[in-house]
Amino acid sequence: MNITAKAHEDLILVTVGEDRIDAACAIQFKERMRELTQAPSSRVILDLSTVAFLDSSGLGAVVAVMKLLGPDRKLELSGLTPTVAKVFHLTRMDTVFTIHPSLPDGLQKAG
């Protein structure tokens, strides 16, 4: 699964290079995220701007990753495409995550 990470000081930027996070790849997604966030950081930003579709299994995997990171590390999301944003909104999970419309300044194109 094409997911890459780059450290920026106290933050890890994870970029998903797939167009779907669905039931067929939710377990791989979770495992890959676990590997990529091993290094300590206070924040993890997950760039979902290329992900056109996420189902409830994909949503569950994102929630699971948030729990894996522990209570002191934040998982933030960036670049939700319309259908992905809709799944977060309908399930009210948009109230749980910090969601950035696009990557914060200084991180764009940096990864």
């Binding site: 669905d22 039931a23 189902d55 299994s57 209570p71 259908t83 309908l90 749980v96």
Partner: protein
């Protein structure tokens, strides 16, 4: 439009792409089409993971235009729903950070987005019908 595919998660991806790229769903506006993909993915994943939990089978889908939207019929020959009733599909509660729900969203997503949802067990088949609004 009618499509039949195998009950595995890779075949579900292919089936979804085929259904969305032609026929009545292709003609929908982007927002309604996105909703259609969310609902159909949940319905098909549910068939694969529950009705066909212990064996492989086929999933048959028919799409028809209807005054209220696209009428969808999904037929499989897997196990029936418990008590032959669809899950209630209540939205899981969002509690403390370490108790956040990782599942149980599927039927909520389906029920909140479709109209005219109905389920029948017909002999050895499950028949689910619903309407995806335009």
């Amino acid at each position: 439009m009618e499509l039949v595919f195998d009950s595995n998660l890779d075949a579900v991806r292919g089936g979804l792409a085929d259904l969305l790229d032609s026929g009545p769903l292709c003609a929908m506006e982007a927002d309604a089409r996105g909703t259609a993909e969310i609902v159909l993915a949940e319905v098909f994943n549910n068939v694969v993971e529950h009705a066909y939990a212990t064996r492989q089978g086929r999933i048959k889908v028919c799409l028809k235009n209807h005054p209220d939207g696209v009428l969808v019929t999904v037929i499989d020959s897997g196990s029936p729903f418990p008590q032959q009733q669809l899950p209630q599909g209540l939205l899981p509660e969002i509690n403390a950070w370490d108790d956040l729900p990782e599942g149980g969203f599927g039927w909520y997503l389906i029920r909140s987005q479709v109209r005219h949802l109905s389920y029948q067990r017909e002999g050895k088949h499950n028949r689910l019908t619903f309407c995806l609004p335009y």
